[in-house]
C-alpha cells in the first residue's frame, strides 16, 4: 500500500470515527467524510459499508442521491453561485454567465488549472442580500459581476490538487 493510500484510508477512518452525534448513519458518515477530505473516494464507500455493516451498493445509493457529494478530489477553491428566484430577479444569471466565461467552463465543474471548483446552489440562504455567491464557504451578498470577478481573481492559485 502506498503512503498516499494509507493516508487516505486513515483520513476516512478518522472522519467516520470523529462523528460526535449519538446517531450515526450512512448519510452522516458520508457527510463527515465529505467535510473532512472534500469528496467521496471509492475507498470511503467501502469503509462506510464495512463500519455500518451494509453493502457498498446501499452506501453508493445514498451518496449518488445528494448533489453535494462529489467523487473526485475538489480543486483548491470552491465557488458557488445562487440561482434561486430572488437572486435570479436581482441579476444572478449575468453573474453566472460571467463566471462561467472567466473560468472557461460550460457548466458546473472544475477548472483545468486546479484552481476552482464551481457549483450552482439552489439557495444559499441569504435571500435578503441577493444576488449571493459563496467563495470558500464565505457568503458575499449584493454581488455584481465585476465584484464577483474581483473575488475570484483574488483566489490563490494551486499547483497541486489536494
Amino acid at each position: 500500500m502506498t503512503t498516499k493510500n494509507k493516508k487516505l484510508l486513515d483520513d476516512i477512518e478518522e472522519a467516520i470515527k470523529s462523528q460526535k452525534r449519538p446517531t450515526i448513519t450512512v448519510l452522516s458518515s458520508l457527510l463527515a467524510i465529505q467535510d473532512h477530505i472534500g469528496y467521496i473516494p471509492d475507498e470511503a464507500i467501502t469503509a462506510v459499508a464495512t463500519s455500518l455493516k451494509t453493502s457498498k451498493n446501499a452506501v453508493f445509493n445514498v451518496a449518488s442521491f445528494y448533489p453535494n457529494f462529489r467523487f473526485t478530489p475538489p480543486n483548491t477553491n470552491s465557488v458557488e453561485v445562487c440561482w434561486g428566484p430572488t437572486c435570479h430577479l436581482l441579476g444572478a444569471s449575468k453573474i453566472l454567465e460571467n463566471i462561467l466565461k472567466i473560468l472557461n467552463i460550460e457548466e458546473e465543474g472544475d477548472t483545468e488549472d486546479g484552481k476552482i471548483s464551481f457549483r450552482f446552489n439552489t439557495c444559499l440562504g441569504a435571500c435578503s442580500q441577493g444576488p449571493v455567491i459563496s467563495v470558500n464557504h464565505e457568503l458575499f451578498g449584493n454581488m455584481t459581476s465585476s465584484e464577483a470577478t474581483a473575488l475570484i481573481n483574488k483566489l490563490p492559485n494551486s499547483k497541486t490538487k489536494h
Binding site: 449518488s64 442521491f65 440561482w83 458546473e108 435571500c127
Partner: protein
Amino acid sequence: MPQSNYQDLQNKSKKHWEELTNGAVPLIRIGSAMCGHASGAFRISNKFKSLINDKSLEVNLNHVGCLGLCYAEPIVEVKKENHPRVFFRNVSEDDVEEIITSYIIGDTIPDVGILGFLGNEDINLPAPSLDQIPGISLQKRIALRNAGHIDPSDVLQYIANDGYSGLHKALTSMEPSDVIDEVKNSGLRGRGGAAFSTGLKWSFMVNSPGPTKYILCNCEEGDPGAYNDKGILESDPYTLIEGLTIAGYATGASNGIVFIRHGHDGPIDRTEQAISQAYEYGLLGKNIFGSDFSFDIEVSLTGESYVAGEETALMEAVEGKRSMPRYRPPFPAAYGVWGKPSTINNVKSLSYAPEIISKGSKWFSKIGVEKSTGTAIVCLSGEINNPGLYEVPMGMTLGQVIDDLGGGISKNRTLKLLQTGGPLGGVLGPDSKDIHIDFDEMRAAGAIFGSGGIIVGSETVCAVDLTRVLVAFCQFESCGKCFPCRLGMEHLLEVIERIANFESEPSDIELMSSVGKTMESGSLCGHGQLGFGPIRSAMSHFKDDFEAHLIDKTCPTGSCLNSKITPKNTRPYATDYVPELVKET
C-alpha cells in the same frame, strides 16, 4: 437539576445580563445571521477583534442574530454603561476604527451610518429611536423576540430574558394534556406550509405506544426565498430547544431531533452549541427541573435535497437513506423514524410554544386574526428597498408589508408580481396588496403563505422567465421516486423553456395543464402534487406575458432574451460507478 434551582439559575442569569448590558465594560454586538454574514459581518468582527487586541481594550464582543432589518446589515451595536444602545448600520471595515476611537475609547458619536438607538438614557443623537423605525415598530416579535438582542451561544442571556419559564411552568404545574389543550386553544397552526393545528397534531401521538417516541423539528428549509427557520436557529436556538422540549413533554416523546441541511454552518453550529449548553445546565437530559420527565435532543443533517423537508422523506434522511417520501399509511404518529411513533413540526411552530405556555393561549390568540392566530414571519426579498426578516401579526396586508416595512419597490419601480410560499407556492399580481396574510385568504387568492417567503418583482420582471426558474428548481429537486413528478417536472420544464425561447406550439398550454393534472392526482407527495401550482397561478395572473411569448414571440421585458442558465442535475447514476460496486460486501 432540582426544581428550586430554576430561581437560582434565573438570578444568576439576570446578574450576568445586567453586568453585560450595563457594566463598566462596553459591549459590542454584531449582527451575524446569514444576512449579516453575506454582508461581511465576520470580516467586520475580525477587524474589531484585531483592533481591540492592538489597543489592549477591555470590550465584550457578542455575535447576535437578526433584528429583522437585513437591509441595514452589517449592524453593529455598542452599549456602554449608562448609555443607550446605539446601532450603526451598513458598517464597513473602514468604519470599525472610527467607531472604536470615537465612541468606545472616546465618547463622541462617530460620523458613520446610524440606524437608531434604544433606551431611555438622555442622548443627543442625529437618529431616531429604533422603536420608531417602521421595520421595528410594525413587528410583533414572539418567536424572534430575542433575535438580535441575545448572544445565541450564551444560554444565560436567554434565561435572563425569561427563557425556560414556559418549560418550568409546564413541568411544575401542568399535565401533558393541559399543555396540549393550551396549544390547541391558542389556535396555533403549523408554519411549515400545511397550516394544520399544532395542538391537534401533538394529540395524535399521545396514545402511541412508548417508551421511545420522537419529536422532529424540520429545518431543512430548502425553499429559495425563505430564511426564517435558519433565522431563528441562528438568532435564538434556545427558543426552539425549549419549544421542542415542551412538545416532548406534551406528547410523551423521549427524543427530539433537529433536522438541518448540511452546509448551513451558522444554524448548525449555533443549534449544537445550544443543545450542549442545555445539557450542561440540566435543561435537557434526565429529570428536567427535578420532574419525572427526561428528554434528549440531537441534530441530524441531510444532504442537499428539497424533498427532504417532506415529513416522511425527512424520516428516511434521519435514518441515513435517500430522502424519498414513504407511502402513507402508516402515518408518522404510528410508524415514523426507525419505526417509532413520530411527530414533525416546523421550527417556527415549535418556537412559539415557550411563549404560549408562559403567557397563556388567550394572550397568543388575541394576536393576529380569528382563524390565523399569532404572527407571520415574513422573509421579504427581491426588488424591494428594505429586504428583511419581519415578524408581523397575522392579518397584516401584503401592501403594508411591501410599502411600510419593505419601504416600497426599489429603484422607484412599480410592483408587478409577488412570489409567495416557496417555489411550489404561487405568483400574485399587483392587485394583491389588499390581501391579508392569513392562511385561508392567501390560499383562496391562489397563492399560499407557506413558509413565509415573499419575493417581490417589478415591471422589469418577466412572469415567464420567473416561472421557468421556479419550474427548473422543482425539476432539479424532484427526488425521482414516483413517475408523475419525475417525468412531469421534466416535461413541464421542457415546455416552459420552449415558451421562453419563443418556440412554443399552440397546444402547449393544454399540454401543460394535462401534465399538471396528472402530477396533481398521481404524485406521492406535495412536491409533485403542487408542482403545477406556480405555472397555473402565473398563467392566470400574467396572461399577457404568456401570450406575448406564445403568439407574438416576443418578451415584453426582454428578460427571456438573456442567457438561460439553469443547472443540470448532476447526480451520477449507479451505472456510472465502478463495476465492483455490484458485489455485496
